[in-house]
Symmetry: C2
Subunit: 356 residues, 2 copies
């Protein structure tokens, strides 16, 4: 019996997670599902976005199925109480350092991309973002009196970007191994022409490369990567980068596909325990209307079965079922187009269950 | 007599700057042009990418016309000697804190964009990037022994992101004033949900907003901005952001237009002295072949006349001449398409002169 912590969160989170759970239950696997509040919902029920009980459930579980957190109504809370602290807290406490962000353009949805179809048809990028280091968690940070810069003596705010050798080594190994399983090409993105942290990152990625001579490695500056993703996204295969640049580039890459409502993600620790969540956010503007696309969350459940629970067959069945509902022409509002059938969140979940 | 420091630099720099100079000379203005080496070229002639003589020329000038720096052949040099240190050094020494990066989609070139024409036709974004603060110059930076993070005791590299109050105030004023001259809408981009520096940035932008009640201000996280630029670029008008995020987003926005070879840029100090350069790089792969597009550099010269030399008529004449050569169907290789006439760098420069 494997334990799954189910954390639906805010906005459309509960609706889309319910469909993923329905799909998991249809597979009749030895799973024990335990629910808890997280994000704004948890703040409302227990005064903190990541209450101790929720954290304990996640720590004790074999995997976490996560919906989404955040809503404008929490914007006025002090930072430590805002919903997104839950996701940062979970990443840190669970040591989820390897974030897998596929950017896949589904054949039937190519037209939904902002880009010309020939540039995105068949797009399949795997962006691997380091998730527990960098400027997200670096110390010191806060307010101080400026010592350098153009206005010494003025008030300033500061943060620390940082990466240690073992942190870079372990994400580099994850990335090279992922590249070995795909096209054997890896692009490491940094800003080594400006940042000490990036130069260190680049040096260590080059060292780790020695253990993976079958993988072709190249390096790209982050500004250039942001451009090349727009210009010729299909030139990328596996991309590895730090937490901050990965935040920006993984979202840019996801949006290129035109169907971010389809994209799952996995955040793994060193033992393949992971947190699985859709790449999109909590979309409070459409919450409760039954129109959100549950497929990214359903595909996140498939990733969970594959990466954390070693249920490769079950994962493949979900993926095939999703392909099948798309082939049947079923579409939630976000991916709907002329000639396809518009379905609700629940109808989409039901269709996936039926296809399984 | 106004003094212009002309710094052609590396790669295609000399070719494109020569055309801009030709255009300036055709206008018969009271300008004194003085040349100096910069970047890799300067390293080769004097052992440093920004030799004292070049820096002095730039400091003494009323404006700097800059080509581009960088070539793969300098990749092995230690960081402080690499070509890009010249541009960082000039920004810092001249106090060029306000970088104007227009992302304009020219009517005749809309087809060259990766994006569907309806998404970019008429696109006209002005991205304002702070250019002398942030993690680019923050101290301390370097190597140390990790104190926090997952591997205390390990070697790590680090950098400091920082902004002081007056640095944020002055760029905010520049941005609000630019917005007042356009659609009166300003988007400030930050990562205030994670970074102390960003929260400070956001707070101060909100304060400065009080002096510009006619401007509508909104805030966007950098990851979302990277997405919205792809999804609906025309929703943006004036955007202001820090040095690091601005580096990434300004290049992404430029690439959306499909004709980065057309986009000028200005980097201004507090007194409208500025450095003007094309948004694209030194393109060493096509250097010396006479095929580079000089229009971004020619339009940078127009920005120079407008912002630093108060020669509004002359600037308008250049802009009109560029419109005219495009209308004539003249295209360098990067923007060429079926049915237009392919011209060389020099032919394009000549055509602009003729149109003036
Ligand atoms: C909510 C926020 C803290 C988070 C991040 O920046 O990592 C989000 O953007 C993401 O990418 O998961
Ligand atoms: C060359 C590099 C240091 C520079 C930067 O990052 O600012 C460049 O990318 C730019 O945007 O002008």
């Amino acid at each position: 019996m494997k334990k799954i912590a189910v954390l639906p969160g805010d906005g459309i989170g509960p609706e889309i997670v319910a469909e993923a759970v329905k799909v998991l239950e249809a597979l009749d696997l030895p799973l024990q599902l335990d629910w808890a509040d997280v994000g704004g919902k948890a703040y409302e029920t227990s005064g903190h976005p990541l209450p101790p009980a929720t954290l304990k459930l996640a720590l004790d579980a074999d995997a976490v199925l996560f919906g989404a957190v955040g809503d404008w109504k929490y914007d006025k809370l002090e930072r430590s109480l805002r919903p997104e602290q839950a996701i940062l807290g979970l990443r840190k406490a669970l040591g989820l350092f390897a974030n897998f962000r596929p950017a896949i353009c589904y054949e039937q949805l190519t037209h939904a991309s902002s880009l010309k179809p020939e540039l995105v048809a068949g797009l399949d990028i795997l962006l691997i973002r380091e998730l527990t280091g960098d400027i997200y968690f670096g110390q010191p940070r806060g307010r101080r009196t400026a010592v350098d810069g153009h206005f010494p003596g003025a008030d300033e705010a500061f943060d620390t970007m940082r990466y240690s050798r073992p942190e870079i080594e372990r994400i580099a190994h994850v990335a090279f191994q992922a590249a070995q399983k795909r096209s054997k090409r890896l692009t490491s993105v940094d800003k080594a022409n400006v940042l000490e942290t990036s130069q260190f990152w680049k040096d260590i990625v080059i060292e780790v490369h020695k253990s993976y001579p079958d993988v072709e490695l190249d390096h790209m500056y982050v500004d250039n990567a942001a451009m090349q993703l727009v210009k010729a996204p299909k030139k990328f295969d596996v991309v590895v980068t730090g937490n901050m640049f990965g935040d920006i580039l993984s979202d840019e890459a996801a949006m290129l596909t035109g169907s971010i409502g389809m994209l799952p993600s996995a955040s793994l620790d060193a033992n393949n325990k992971g947190l699985y969540e859709p790449s999109h956010g909590s979309a409070p503007d459409i919450a409760g209307r039954g129109i959100a696309n549950p497929l990214a969350t359903i595909l996140s459940a498939a990733m969970m079965l594959k990466f954390s629970l070693n249920q490769l067959d079950a994962a493949a069945r979900i993926e095939a079922a999703v392909e099948s509902v798309l082939a049947q022409g079923l579409r939630t509002a976000d991916i709907w187009s002329e000639g396809t059938s518009k379905v609700s969140t629940i109808e989409m979940g039901d269709a996936v269950v039926k296809a399984i």
